[in-house]
Amino acid sequence: MSEPVAKVAIRVVVNGVAHEHSVEPRLLLVDLLREVLRLTGTHVGCDTSSCGACTVLLGERCIKSCTMFAVQADGQTITTVEGLAAADGTLHPLQRGFHEEHGLQCGYCTPGMLMAAVDLINHNPQPDERAIRRAIAGNICRCTGYHNIVKAIQFACAELARTKTRDTS
């Protein structure tokens, strides 16, 4: 490629904040988040779209931000781990679950796990253990053996069910 490639203007809403940038087409979405927006909570752990450390929500769906170009996210809404807690800092039930159930050790896979779990509970609020394990099968962890991550997600589901019962009673 002899001449530099034309940049593309994109607009994305990340964790509720709109951003406009002019980016190289080949800029990976994960690098838009980490390098341009300095949201370093989303991580990179592999080269082959295998590990899920880069998982974020695109709209309502969890996706691997390393396997998407920033230009493909133009006009879309993204939620990263930094956007999971409420504006006043109140932790999401999943975040609480990971803390209560010791669902993390080194913390590197944790943001990706959390975002994949958000997608899960959004469409299946009461998953059984097998559904949980399948929902996070795209997220590799090398520290926990997954045992407590499953419990963390179950904790959150139980808490959300209690809240829902309270709200609807």
Partner: protein, 298 residues
Amino acid sequence: MYPSPFRYHRAATLADAIARVASAGDEARILAGGQSLTAMMKTRLAAPAELVDIGFIPGLAYLRPDADYLRLGALARHRDVELASMERGLEILHDAASVIADVQVRNRGTVCGSLAHADPGGDWAPVMLALGAELEIVGPDGTRTVPVRNFFLDFFTTDLRRGEVLRELRIPITAERRTGAYLALKRRAGDYAIAGVAVSLVLDAQGMCVGAGIGLGNVGPTPLIAEEAERRLIGNDPAAAQVIRAVVAAAVAAAQPGSDNHGSAEYKREVVGALVRRALDIAVRRDHGETIVAYDHV
């Protein structure tokens, strides 16, 4: 880790995309879900000079049945199929959708894109072969329809000509009694299948088989149709032991696996035989009203 530089064109319509690819020649690739292409570009196995993004074209993300077909648009995602409530007889679609890669990939990857990519280990191809699906292809020379059975030519090679794009996948809907199953043996959840087997049956009022489709995945340079095995089913009871034996033998004979880290050719043939037998069994039991999670049987 990072792709080579490329030009980017966001297509407004499919016609625009086709025109763009036609003018760019061999240098341009279509970008839809990007789950296969992006991965290849990151390892620099692929380095197209231009990507033509069809991901923003409206009206392509449908999954809808009509009188004749279940139609999937170019941007229908694996996940859309996984989450759709499947009418009876098409559980096979859910069987495949739920074992492709992982949720993240399924949320972006498209069914049509996967078929066009033609990885021999892909889960959709054997299913579409078994279902007798068709592909609507648009290109610089117009529109044509190709049965999936004629679509896969060689290793990662399809009948798509330069500048053509898959616009729609059509799965024939039948009023008849239909059943099926897809099973894939994978070392690890989400891997490409060591071997995948798709069985689709149409049964008459007595439960005899009047139509059969058997697709085999990753046991050849392309997904394969086990034609002789299909013939052994027609007019026969798919639950009868001697029929099953004959079908399994014929399917195993149709497989052309190679040896690799996951096993010898002999082993893979054994797997094909096992999966065909089990898929037939699941299909019959589903026809009797049983709810079965296919991947429990692998």
